[in-house]
Symmetry: D2
Subunit: 342 residues, 4 copies
């Protein structure tokens, strides 16, 4: 039975508490939050969970094996480092830290102590993204040509991160997972419409060694909510619409056909093949439920986390490169093989 | 009665012939095309229109006042220049020419001869775009914050232009018209998936002196067709979906509200205002019909064309800058006040 | 402070407990259910609420002023009658009772004891239905021409009611409320596809003294979920789509225009007027929250319930008539002015 | 080479002329219409086709083998009878005639003269309906449980037919074709909202010997256009949306599962099976093109028409029964095995 502490009970913390508390093999022992009213809400719902405004109380509790941290990103590094030093396994919400140096330091600390360090890239635990991965890895998909995501809505401005660190990160982690490739350059553009605030609209293009291109389109000022990703292969194309209640993934049997006859050449070298569309039934398990079970497995059995510290670090390096490019109006930032800006 | 010659009867030419032939105050006298089978099709439909495979025959015909040119872009410059030299008014399909030097030369020729030179940026003559212009110019729209367009489908590869020159040009001309502003820089990224072919996916970001940002997203490889533009103002936001049969434009009474209370400040400085949505009835006249009437008016009465040579030139300069940026993976190209790359 | 008991904690009971417990001016004292596991669920969430498997315990509790009943319909009559006899105000989920005689008996009991008897026709407390009522009552709507509802999905078969008593009742109560009229006849058709089970697909037509027609289309076997109602006036038409997340109501400025010119007469006597579409912002308060406040007001201040026993009775009479017609393959059942089958 | 005359060049006639004129194995020789302006339109487009305001001229023309009739329904009987008597094969637009007696008389005349008599039930020649037929006839569909169609829009009032004879006929012919069964009773309801005019809204329920139920929902007063049919089988369910540009047919792998465990029995005897969805690519050939080829084949090779006079007669008998039921507010009209009202 894994005994867990949860630090932060604001927006995302309640989901962590609920999923871990209801998971087989785990129990939430204590939760901390700076805001006492959040703790009161918790107690109404879970009278058996201890509460405190001092996260250090959780770290001191020798009964607790692992800590899930759901605080603003500015505090991720110091809380996670304290937790590791106290010998706790750590699950960190995203983005992992504010800088890649901090991420690297946490990884080293966790490795030296042989502790699990996992990052909560939730989308990788959804039935939809797992089905997409399965399709891309299958024979019939062909070459991976593009990943193109629109993730927009009238969203709350975040005071600590811009729209890239808030929304684009979801797509960066999905693309990292389904492609198994790291970009060799990123170009980003964006704008802040409110003086003194971070960017609220941004666009990222990711370049790869292959002929894959990635594009991510995020916006906190859109009048309508859109969560739609097009994923193009040379033989099949996928539309992933996360707002569709039942058919989130549609697979189109469409692809390129390279012509060779002289007549074709005159007007166009390329034709299209078009066939059926297919929407597979998806596993509807809540992502965080799957993720909690995976974290429990990692701590208990030493399984390597799918979203380990290294994957968190890769994402933070990409975010840093995107921020640099955005500040220079799209000037591309080259990335080394291990994801550092060149 | 304006007497018209049409050069090119392939994809777009038939629309020009139909609209001018049915317009009040004009008649199509002759049409040329290199492909005789196209001319046979024309004769079945319009037995009274003369046909020729030599466009020079049209220019020599002294009865003809004006020429509409709907040939591949590579031939625009030479045919248009010949037509102007032959004293004909000219309507050129888009893009105006392959280079900005050519556009400038045509403008000079037309001005020196006092002839009308108009470019067929068709979308500016639709009821939808005109209504959008009206809303943006009205009091209730607030500051123009962003223009964000997705224009994708499984499209025929063009052998003479890339996806920016083919599709993004529509949005460049719409944004030029509705904003009345010229960008001060452009960053573009894109990729070609077929060896030896032009780019089939591209993304453009346009920067302005104000806090307006423009983004255009074009793709010939998408499994679904999308024609959707979001147009954000600080007080109203517009969704323009050109594939909607009846409600192409939706106006959302949504906007930013800057907070000042201390509690708001802790989590976010900014709130949202949300109200009704409204879809105005649009003028359903075919755009080319409106455009033909405008061209006739320009030739007959000396009215200045909405889409004159200068606007065609501005677009070509933007396209050139976008191409340069795309070749450099998004490196921004600065633009001078008159639209030249700096 | 109204003190409430809730009988039944299966599907709907938890919503009643949550809304009354969080309402100003009320508190849930005790809840009963035959299934102890339901009560355990309740206690985890609301440790202060007493639980019992005997609803009679609630009726005996002199501290309790009112009882909300959310049990299967077969038990509505006896539990409600017991509650009224014990001096409790009563809120009954729908349908009110299995027969109109039972409904009438409950009304008499409540009236003789001066107790509130309210039926939970939830939709009448939604922002959407209230906005529709407001539009229909306004000047610009014209004559009320039709109400046409499709309410279908892959639904659980109910073992105690057919699809009319389950789903069509929602529309009967909405139409009763927004029209303020009672039908003079009903024709219903339907079918049961599973031997020994109640009808799973049904269609109802409602006739009125005016030229209003109502039609309700319910289906437990549909592969897709639809909740869409068209409401036609001679000057405006409304589309109410309850599954739309944001724009549930669209008002079309469309109507009939009776022509009189000779040319019109030859092909058609009637034309159409078409104008803007408008989607008003709706009050997003949860319906049951509004309804709970209304029940508290009725008990505390003697306000007449919008959905009183009489409205519950009218609905049961309509359901009885529909069942009779359905058994006779659509043979119309005439209704008297007070809603009895003639 | 089949030589054809076309009677009527109003709304539908131009489609007949275009499809037959472009078909292999046929040529349109002459066309008649009472309105000379229609004939002028024809001549611009097809200068080689003879025109006349007297359909008798066509019947007298011994060069002509067959006649397609696209006039208002009131004239169908007399023109078709004249044509058959003149020895011409006949293609009649729908509805076949105003009465079933007239249809029967035409069938007898055609049979006695060994002439083809075909009715233009166009939908049966679409790729969509043919694919539906194929699915229903396949093993995996299970029992045919229901056919449920909504066919509504803001439509022109017809001066000669009501909304059932205009719109519902499409569904009657589709259901006749895909089910291969004839209903044993019909119940219809409807209303006319304009004094002196025919019904503009109507609802039909069709009963069968099996546990199939059919329902058709037609409306000329709807603010939105809907063409959606649900087709339920015990193992698969189909949604046919004729307004979808690309995925007109979606097949859901959903069905009923009859439970037998005791726990299931308590709440419901029936569960659901849910799986993938699949949208097959459809033959996009224009229906009238396929139909013209079929008519040519019937005349040339003696093939029996899919939509012969008998099928036209079945439809007219159903329409007559529906009209009778509608006049009696839904009172069901029983039908004999050969489709006569009992």
């Amino acid at each position: 039975m894994l005994k867990l502490g949860v630090v932060g009970y604001g927006y995302w913390g309640p989901n962590l508490v609920r999923n871990f508390h209801e998971a087989d093999g785990a129990r939430v022992i204590a939760t901390s939050d700076l805001d006492e009213s959040h703790l009161t809400r918790l107690q109404v719902r879970y009278p058996t969970i201890e509460t405190t405004t001092q996260y250090q109380d959780i770290l001191k509790n020798s009964e607790i094996d692992a800590v899930a941290i759901a605080t603003p990103v500015a505090s991720h590094y110091s809380i996670a480092l304290d937790a590791l030093k106290a010998g706790k396994h750590v699950l960190l919400t995203k983005p992992m830290t504010q800088t890649s140096e901090q991420s690297l330091r946490l990884i080293e600390e966790a490795e030296s102590r042989n502790l699990v360090l996992m990052v909560d890239h939730t989308f990788l635990y959804t039935g939809a993204v797992r089905k997409i991965k399965e399709i891309i890895d299958s024979d019939g998909f062909g070459d991976f040509l593009y990943y193109d995501s629109v993730r927009i809505n009238l969203g709350l401005f975040q005071y600590d991160v811009d729209v890239i660190w808030d929304l684009a990160l979801h797509d960066l982690s999905i693309l990292d997972y389904i492609s198994g490739m790291s970009p060799n350059a990123v170009s980003a553009t964006g704008i802040s419409h409110v003086s003194g605030q971070q960017e609220d609209i941004a666009y990222l293009t990711l370049f790869f060694d292959s002929n894959l291109i990635g594009h991510i389109h995020v916006n906190w000022l859109a009048p309508v909510k859109v969560r739609r990703t097009l994923i193009g292969g040379s033989q099949k194309m996928i539309v992933y619409d996360d707002l569709e209640p039942s058919e989130k993934i549609k697979i189109y049997d469409k692809g390129l056909v390279l012509g060779d006859s002289e007549t074709t050449r005159r007007e166009s070298l390329i034709g299209y093949r078009s066939g059926d569309m297919w929407a597979p039934q998806l596993d509807a398990t809540e992502a965080l439920n799957t993720e909690a079970a995976h974290f429990i497995d990692c701590v208990t059995n030493g399984t390597r986390p799918l979203t380990d510290g290294r994957s968190g670090l890769r994402m933070v390096r990409l975010l840093e490169a995107a921020s640099r490019s955005m500040a220079a109006r799209g000037q591309p930032v080259e990335l080394t093989r291990d994801g550092r800006a060149a």
